[in-house]
Amino acid sequence: MKKIKSIDELINLKEAALDKIKERQLGDKTTIVVNMGTCGIAAGAREVMMAIIDELDKRNISDVIVTQAGCAGMCQHEPMLEIIKPGTPQVVYGHLDEKKAREIVVDHIVNGRIIEKYALVQQV
């Protein structure tokens, strides 16, 4: 480790370190809820979730919480996920795979565009 010589270096280190503990910062953040019931897992929800985490990582997005929920009762639409973004309508996406999941991260999370063709339900 290089020694810290100035306040700027300390600030830089803080920014980098904040990223490391961002999972522990509570607050108004966008949440991606992946349905992880037995049905979801069987349909590939785990791969979907890993793709999302990977995509968020690649794009260095740190203010998004990825969490899971149980079966939503619409097992035929699995894998499903829900995006809760403060101030915008909640959207449930269904019939996902890794590719679609990555698209959702890019379009919905980054650019704020809801991908209607994947959406199952949209709260008005």
Partner: protein, 553 residues
Amino acid sequence: MYHYRSHVLVCSGSTCVTSGCHVVKEAISEEIKRQRLEEEIKVLETGCIGFCEQGPLVVVYPEGIMYCRLKPEDAPVIVEEHLLKGRVVEKLLYQDPSTRKPVPLMKDLPFLSRQTKVAMRNAGLINPEDIEEYIANEGYFALAKVLKSMSPKDVITEIKKSGLRGRGGAGFPTGLKWEFTAKSRGIKKYVVCNGDEGVPGVFMDRSILEGDPHSVIEAMAIAGYAIGADQGYIYVRAEYPLAVKKLQHAINQAYEYGLLGDDIFETGFSFDINIRVGAGAFVCGEETALLASIEGRRGEPRPRPPFPAEEGLWGKPTLINNVETFANIPPIILKGGEWYASMGTDKSKGTKVFALTGKVNNTGLIEVPMGISLREIIFDIGGGIPNNKKLKAVQTGGPMGGFIPAEYITVSMDYESLAELGTLVGSGSLTVLDEDTCVVNLVKFFAEFCYEESCGKCAPCRIGIKRMLEILTRITNGQGQERDIKDLEELSNYIKNTALCGLGQAAPNPVLSMLRYFKPELEAHIRNKHCPASVCTFTLDSSCQTSAVGGVR
């Protein structure tokens, strides 16, 4: 850098260690591996969360859900249900004793939500073994601010403005102490951190050293700058091996990052810190005895003045503050003295950590603003008395403090109000007594403690406390005499006025407090050979019992 989906924080303060947190952590890690989640979920250790009653504790982020009283057998359920499927495991959550409803979120716990954390701001939130997590929470920014933009005088003014008083027991204004030491003449000065926390039932210093060691290191460097010292010593008692280990690790890290050592932030200011481990004597928490112990001499107090601010370690001016006091310094520097002074009462500013123990539902460490009522602490935060028993009194200040009887439950918790009641804030121990506790017996226990811990240097303490203990032992055995009350009172006042150091001067406090509030109970022991709480067992000389077969009394 890889991002984890979830962080699982296992509380690893000494209390949770003793209730088995390592096995729980191991089991959770094992189970996470078995479910192939190790790339998504990070398990790490953190410092004491304070809710020790409910240990071992585990907090799962990002949700902030707390599980308590975990056993290794619970690991598979938590991992499969919560971490894999996202379903909170209700039966392992904390249950509100009054509503019988589980409380999932840590921030909603009445025990935690009513607290104001300053000194313990990071404990339980960060990994104490990673300096970067401390830096992420504004760590070392106070040191940077002080070195780059403040003069030593500014620093002392800011501390004085905050109204911070020594949290070790005496409550001496910290800013004044810094000023005295800064004004003392001398080329070499020292900063000493008193981590010899010996009062039974008190463990906030340990918790801070284990959970957030960098806050103490940073504060000591700030103090060094303010008074003109370049060397610091942290005196930790040998009974705290985990604290010593974490502290040493933190010091090494601080050196590695250039936050200790020579030329910090390229300002020309240098500061070194060494750890000194005590040998387990209670009296070494007294500042002059502590300094003697650091010098390698026998841990015995000496008369003051000269105060350590003038003649301390090796005869040089020395600033000595307690762990909790130091932990308050970085936020005061960053947020300003006025911010700190806005909490608390007129003369007692800021927050204080109390160790809540005894007959109360939620035991553990709490940090609250000064001036909070005792009722709020015992009933709102502490969750009341178990088994529907009645509150009898609260003992504060440890073996050298006094009692607050139940009728004074609304007292404001600050230095002045407690002094009026004849007790003290001390290092922050709050022992709750219910109707089943015998005050006389408890006072005897405290006298025993002080008798054993007296260093023996001065006669009032060495002989006086022994006599006091003899009288109390007699009373609790049912052989009390009418004159004992007068004797106790006289003896107490003699010891109080003539003992050399704080230990002896304060040792009679429990006796005096008992005489003030619980005289009828003492009289019952002496006159009627009766213990109202049915704790003391009397050996009676009734004729039928002495003649019983085998001499069984």
